[in-house]
């Protein structure tokens, strides 16, 4: 059968995957700490019909070969870790990371997950937890009598007690990865480390290249809506064009079919 029938269909499949990713980005446009994903494509291998460099005459070789390409494939869905917009919320436990780094939280099964979502809450025991109730690591327990809590850009958490004294209740740390794009998304704004991401390096916020903590703010997603919409238009048009190529291949086959009467 015609190669084009299959190569054009790979084009449609690739654009579908792209649309899936764009849709996911757009649906998470307001998700705190969400990082946009991008589909990356590769052309497939080429079948040579004539290899370039084949001798055609004495002292003369083919300048370029003749080959058939087989379409396109999705090679990666890459997460882009650029800074999201910072939105002021005024919430005491709303923490945004300005710059590099992740918060660590403990999953129910004991593993450590990483997140940029800094919308923390206080549970019944005075501990800082995520919206899903996962404990922040290192654990921070606030005195139940605290009147107000202040979190400094370098992660020092201090509580003001009713008698006016200020008590240091702990230090927030951040972790960093050599290759954050290699982290595994497990949903709920959480990531797990993988062999590709490298191991987590822990550090103090606002030092050694780690981002600083901004209290009373949240980091919104870094999805650029205009860009996503443009990508959506491009994906649809490329999809259309590839379907035309399939139709043409179909026309070719019909034409061949009518050769014999």
């Amino acid at each position: 059968m015609l190669v084009s029938l299959y190569s054009a269909s790979t084009g449609m499949i690739a654009q579908q995957r792209r649309l899936d990713t764009i849709s996911n980005n757009l649906s998470n446009v307001d998700t705190t700490g969400y990082k946009a994903q991008r589909v990356e494509f590769q052309d497939l291998l080429y079948t040579p019909i004539k290899e370039a460099g084949t001798p055609v005459a004495q002292n003369s070789v083919l300048p370029t070969g003749d080959y058939v390409g087989h379409g396109v494939k999705v090679v990666a869905t890459n997460r882009i870790f650029t800074q999201g917009n910072i939105e002021q919320t005024g919430g005491t436990f709303d923490l945004a990371i300005m710059g590099d780094g992740f918060f660590q939280v403990q999953l129910q099964d004991g593993r450590i997950a990483y997140t940029r979502d800094g919308a923390f809450k206080v549970d019944g025991d005075g501990r800082l937890v995520t919206s899903n109730g996962l404990l922040l690591v290192p654990n921070i327990t606030l005195p139940t009598t605290a009147e107000s809590v202040n979190i400094s850009p370098d992660g020092i958490i201090s509580a003001k007690l009713p008698d006016g004294t200020i008590q240091n209740v702990g230090n927030l740390t951040l972790v960093r990865f050599v290759n954050p794009a290699g982290l595994k998304s497990i949903g709920n704004n959480l990531f797990l480390s993988t062999p590709a991401s490298g191991v987590a390096t822990e550090g103090i916020p606002n030092q050694d290249g780690f981002g600083s903590i901004e209290q009373g703010s949240l980091e919104k997603s870094n999805v650029d809506v205009v860009k996503e919409m443009v990508n959506m238009i491009v994906a649809q048009r490329t999809y259309d064009l590839n379907s035309k190529a399939i139709q043409t291949a179909d026309d070719f086959l019909r034409t061949i079919g009518t050769l014999k009467r």
């Binding site: 370029t64 003749d66 090679v75 034409t255």
Partner: protein, 244 residues
């Protein structure tokens, strides 16, 4: 047998090669760093026509040449600039001008215009397949946190040069390997600007490809008519011959 039938068939095969190529270009219309292919056709079996009605029956009188068929002869990558799109991702690079990145895959060196790079677990610059990007000394490139790269490819850590420079080389006769890679003979490239935080889209001109698609389709139909005509002529001959 009727020679025209075979000539027409070759024309149809050439059109099919054209269609395969257009489909591959369209499928890769969104592939970063993809360079479109062009199929070049060649007249096949040029035939000399002679008039043997002259006195010298052996030589005959030269009347001229006729091309008896057409074949798809070459597929050639067209290395023109693709559109540059800003991504703001620090590990994305676009080459504006001439040149290719050097990529080490299975200990061999390939070339690519796709600059969607990543860092691996050790902080080395790699492509989506995990192949290392090479510097001007053919070494793997390890970059510091928050690195920047200037237009020539020099890598900076803050304001300080790290001493490594992303290699950009020209190719004498770039030929496609696939999976975003090219092969060819290395030449020096001076006429380029490396842009960090951007990628180069494919240089496929979708309008042109669609026009080529229509052309190929119509040509295919027309040649088919010619095949049918020749077929019915043969049919007539057979019919007439039967009656005699």
């Amino acid at each position: 047998m009727n020679r025209g039938l075979y000539i027409s068939t070759m024309g149809m095969l050439a059109n099919m090669a054209q269609l395969d190529n257009i489909s591959n270009n369209l499928a890769n219309a969104d592939t970063v760093g993809y360079k479109k292919d062009e199929v070049l056709f060649k007249a096949y079996l040029e035939k000399e026509f002679r008039n043997y009605d002259s006195n010298d029956l052996k030589k005959g009188k030269h009347l001229g040449y006729m091309e008896t068929a057409l074949i798809a002869d070459e597929t050639k990558p067209i290395i023109s600039q693709g559109q540059i799109i800003e991504t703001n991702n620090p590990t994305d690079f676009a080459i504006f001008g001439d040149g290719f990145f050097k990529v080490e895959k299975n200990s061999e060196i390939y070339y690519s215009r796709n600059g969607e790079f990543k860092l691996n677990q050790d902080g080395f610059l790699v492509n989506s397949d995990g192949d290392y990007i090479l510097d001007t000394n053919n070494q793997h490139i390890q970059v510091p946190n928050n690195f920047t790269v200037d237009e020539e490819g020099n890598i900076y850590n803050g304001n300080q040069l790290t001493g490594q420079k992303i290699a950009i080389v020209n190719l004498e006769k770039p030929s496609k390997f696939g999976i975003n890679l090219f092969t060819g003979n290395e030449l020096e490239s001076k006429n380029y600007k490396l842009i960090q935080g951007s990628v180069e889209k494919s240089n496929v001109d979708t309008l042109k490809e669609m026009v080529n698609l229509i052309n190929a389709n119509r040509a295919f139909e027309i040649i088919q008519k010619s095949v049918q005509t020749q077929d019915s002529m043969t049919g007539k001959i057979v019919e007439t011959a039967q009656r005699i």
